[in-house]
């Protein structure tokens, strides 16, 4: 009895996570269109990667853990979901770092509008190499 309740709870938490991921992906796409600058769009892309990628994968793993009719296959699906989520969290920021740094160094996009740009200031002072 107790295990059934826990099973159901985990199942619905997983469903909520998957559903939330879909909504966040949609909102990230809207944000991609509404933000008018490359750097601002990177923030919307982060929502797509973490909110729309990490959480649904965790939810998928939780759902598959509760499905008894899948037999031992459920551990297989859950394991792949969890490890993919783990590596997504490790590797997604690397792409953002590379894009942001490369764009700033090469001056392809001016980070406009901007309140203050400490990196540009320090580069002009010669404190860090360009």
């Amino acid at each position: 009895m107790m295990s059934e309740i826990i099973n159901m709870l985990v199942f619905y938490i997983g469903l909520i996570l998957v559903f939330l991921g879909g909504i966040l992906d949609l909102l990230a796409a809207i944000g991609m269109n509404r933000f008018k600058n490359f750097y601002l769009r990177l923030h919307a892309a982060t929502i797509g990667a973490i909110g729309g990628g990490f959480y649904p994968l965790i939810g998928l793993g939780l759902i598959s853990l509760t499905l008894d009719w899948m037999g031992t296959n459920r551990f297989y699906v859950a394991g792949i979901s969890f490890t993919t989520a783990f590596f997504l969290v490790l590797t997604a920021p690397v792409g953002s770092h590379a894009l942001a740094q490369g764009t700033h160094k090469s001056r392809i996009v001016e980070p406009e509008p901007i309140v203050v740009d400490r990196l540009r200031e320090d580069e002009e002072k010669g404190l860090i190499e360009k």
Binding site: L27, T46, I50, L90, R118, L119
Partner: protein, 167 residues
């Protein structure tokens, strides 16, 4: 002895990762995982593991788990909510590239801080100055551009945990 402990320090996480990934507890999978982990641990153990006493320290693993749970529930939820509000009200944005000082010594801790900053929507690490110990962070809603306040708002919490886990 040090080398064996370095190999063990890389081997154990790799075996756990392999077993979680395959999701089966056959003897075959277990032996294959152990052999692969030994080979990888032998090749890269002393490159990946700098100090063996840190890897086999359960207190650090405990803080890692605490940090992971706290980060992916509370911190991420707050940051997502902030940026979602900005998507529907783009006039509220106030972007700035601020300087955030950090005070950790190992590369792992620095990577943890930089990745944590980038993984929260609203802040992205643009560059790092390892000599003067500064991170340059693009912040979508800069409440204050001074180094100290920026650090309190962005990375003070990450640094506290990164210090406990990796330093």
């Amino acid at each position: 002895m040090k080398r064996i402990r370095a190999i063990l320090g890389l081997m154990i996480p790799l075996i756990i990762l392999y077993i979680v990934y395959t999701g089966s507890f056959n003897l075959f999978e277990l032996i294959l995982g152990i052999i692969t982990a030994i080979v990888v641990g032998y090749l890269f153990g002393d490159v990946v593991v700098e100090k063996t006493s840190k890897v086999l320290d359960p207190v650090r693993w405990f803080w890692l788990v605490i940090y992971a749970v706290f980060y992916f529930t509370v911190i991420e939820a707050k940051a997502h909510w902030e940026v979602l509000k900005l998507i529907f009200n783009p006039s509220g944005i106030k972007p700035a590239i601020v300087r955030v000082p950090y005070n950790v010594s190992t590369d792992y801790a620095l990577t943890t801080i930089a990745n944590s900053i980038t993984n929260t929507p609203g802040t992205i690490t643009v560059d790092v100055d390892e000599k003067r110990k500064y991170l340059y962070v693009h912040w979508i809603k800069a409440v204050d551009v001074s180094d100290k306040v920026a650090k309190e708002n962005i990375s003070a919490l990450f640094e506290k945990y990164a210090h406990k886990i990796f330093d």
